[in-house]
């Protein structure tokens, strides 16, 4: 039983199970869901570094996601540079943008960073829409992915399986990055800044530098995720990679799961992907009908036609409910129950 108490043991088991999945599951749709989860986990873990540890809520992280996606796509389309090289340029640009935002906002007290992050994402989205020569505007960019060739290694990006493993690797990378930051000096400093900026300052912590470093790492990883997304879908457009709903999703993943934890975004990613797919594919509607909601009725018809569009509404409700009743996310909720039970046992 002691083996299963260790969080590392659980995650390790999960990793092995995931690695073996494609051998057992052949359905492209199921694999697609896993890839979405891996991507969402990666983005959530990245946001967590600045949002969870640092307490600086960026509601415009789509900016970095979009920079990663667009840079790799444009370099592929115009210069035939494969995305696994192009994305590095995207990451560099994302870090540069992050440092600019940081330079403007991190010396200020107050909600300015949140506002500025939203503004920058909107600037990016607007730019992508209007700079048609570069980005093809609202029509987006479509590009075919070349095979990955390295010496004897030749991987064709055909079917879901290559993306599955790539996604898994990236997700694991981001989880490890998160865990490493958490126990590093940067992690301690970020959390100190989050808890009490004045106290942190008095203890020798350079406030702006700490926040900037956290944001830069977060931006780079998010851009990497954007590159992966572009690689996987083969098509990107301003609304899909730079919209506010993308930014909201990233925040939601972390607050549902549990902000400032390493496992939180994993939980949040699973919940969100399952929920949004269930809505999109009318699974939820079917489930409600199975439970007894009459299909023929007005409500039934209404649900059938509209529930698929409702996933953003559900996001909104989730945000409100989480903030009001579960500010520490599911993980925090469970932890509170566990510690309450422990205290009860200790007192009895």
């Amino acid at each position: 039983m002691r083996l299963f108490r260790s969080r590392q043991a659980w995650l390790g088991l999960l990793l092995i199970a995931c690695a073996l999945l494609p051998a057992l599951i052949k359905s492209p749709y199921a694999l697609h869901l896993f890839i979405l989860v891996f991507l969402t986990v990666m983005l959530g873990e990245s946001w967590n570094i600045i949002g969870g540890f640092g307490g600086q809520y960026s509601v415009g992280h789509a900016a970095y996601f979009g920079i990663g996606a667009y840079t790799s796509m444009i370099l592929l389309r115009d210069h035939q540079i494969p995305p696994w090289f192009g994305v590095w340029a995207g990451m560099a640009i994302a870090v540069a943008v992050a440092l600019v935002i940081g330079a403007i906002c991190f010396r200020l007290r107050g909600p300015y960073f949140v506002l500025a992050s939203i503004a920058v994402a909107e600037i990016m989205r607007n730019g992508a829409l209007n700079w048609k020569g570069l980005t093809n505007g609202a029509e987006g960019i479509l590009a075919e992915v070349p095979p990955f060739v390295l010496g004897p290694l030749h991987i064709d990006f055909v079917g879901k399986v290559p993306y599955f493993y790539l996604g898994l690797i990236l997700a694991v990378m981001s989880i490890v990055a998160n865990a490493l930051v958490r126990v590093s000096k940067l992690g301690y400093y970020l959390q100190a800044v989050r808890e009490d900026q004045d106290a942190a300052h008095s203890l020798g912590i350079p406030i702006a530098l700490t926040k900037n470093t956290g944001l830069a790492i977060s931006a780079a990883l998010t851009a990497l995720g954007g590159g992966f997304y572009a690689l996987y879908t083969g098509f990107i457009d301003p609304a899909g990679v730079l919209g506010i709903d993308v930014s909201i999703q990233l925040v939601l993943v972390c607050i549902i799961g549990g902000i400032g934890t390493v496992a939180g975004p994993i939980l949040g990613a699973v919940v969100l992907v399952v929920l949004s797919e269930a809505l999109r594919s009318n699974l939820l509607a079917s489930a409600l009908f199975a439970v007894g909601v009459p299909q023929g009725s007005a409500i039934g018809q209404f649900l059938k036609t509209n529930l698929a569009q409702a996933h953003v509404l559900v996001y909104g409700i989730l945000v409100v409910v989480t903030v009001l009743f579960m500010p520490d996310g599911f993980l925090g909720f469970f932890r509170a129950i566990v510690s309450r039970r422990k205290r009860a046992e200790a007192n009895s």
Partner: protein
């Protein structure tokens, strides 16, 4: 030999308000300076000026030979000066140990080293057994001790304590007095803002009295307590005539 801290003609204005006006004093190395005065005298303001949380309107401050007026607080901590806060500021969602680790990271090379140093500091304030408790859940006495331990973990040359004994019961105050004296034995220099006169008498080598932003008196604890102007400032003119 020059004093470790030299405050020279420091003034701090907020618009028309003169929070500090022409304050000067020195703190020799290894000594304890008691800083007293009625509420609103400008004690915390001068602390804020010394530790970089406020800029100086006028004057200069020298610490260990460096001019530190207007320097950022983190830089001042690196130079070897640390402070605690009147309204205590625990890093609430971190554990007691992690709080002190944050302080220790100022000078250690790795988090592992910092943890070792942190445990030591916690033992010195008799809080080693509370290492895993959440700082936000501590009672006020332990919060104050934690804040001191955290500050000491930065391995400072000088510590500024702002009403560390405020809100403590006599036993807890006694703990803290012993801590301050132990810190002095380690060779650190301290400035202590306190309202508890008995404590000030016991621990201070010298005392500076502030009133309405100005320095009212300076001297040994005995001298200051006997000074009629000081008595008047604290207790009112009628009593001073006794």
């Amino acid at each position: 030999m020059t004093a470790l801290l030299q405050v020279k003609n420091v003034s701090r204005y907020f618009g028309g308000l003169k929070a500090n006006e022409d304050v000067s004093f020195e703190v020799p190395q290894g000594s304890i300076l008691g800083l007293i005065g009625p509420n609103g005298a400008g004690k915390t303001t001068i602390f804020n000026c010394i530790t970089g949380f406020l800029g100086l309107s006028r004057g200069e401050i020298f610490f260990d030979g460096n001019s530190i007026g207007g320097v950022q607080p983190d830089r001042i901590c690196k130079l070897g000066m640390v402070r605690t806060f009147q309204k205590v500021k625990p890093l609430a969602r971190l554990s007691v140990l992690d709080n002190v680790v944050v302080g220790a990271l100022c000078r250690t090379r790795s988090p592992a080293q910092a943890r070792a140093l942190a445990r030591e500091q916690l033992e010195l304030v008799h809080m080693g057994h509370r290492a895993d408790a959440l700082a936000g859940g501590l009672p006020i006495g332990e919060r104050k001790k934690l804040e001191v331990a955290r500050a000491l973990a930065t391995q400072p040359k000088m510590v500024l304590l702002d009403e560390v004994m405020g809100g403590l019961n006599p036993a807890e105050s006694e703990d803290l007095i012993e801590l301050i004296l132990a810190v002095k034995k380690r060779g650190l220099t301290q400035i202590v803002i306190e309202h508890d006169m008995k404590a000030i008498m016991r621990i201070s080598d010298r005392v500076v009295v502030l009133n309405a932003g100005r320095k009212l008196a300076e001297g040994t604890p005995q001298e200051v307590v006997a000074n009629p102007a000081v008595v008047e400032a604290y207790l009112g003119a009628a009593l001073a005539e006794d």
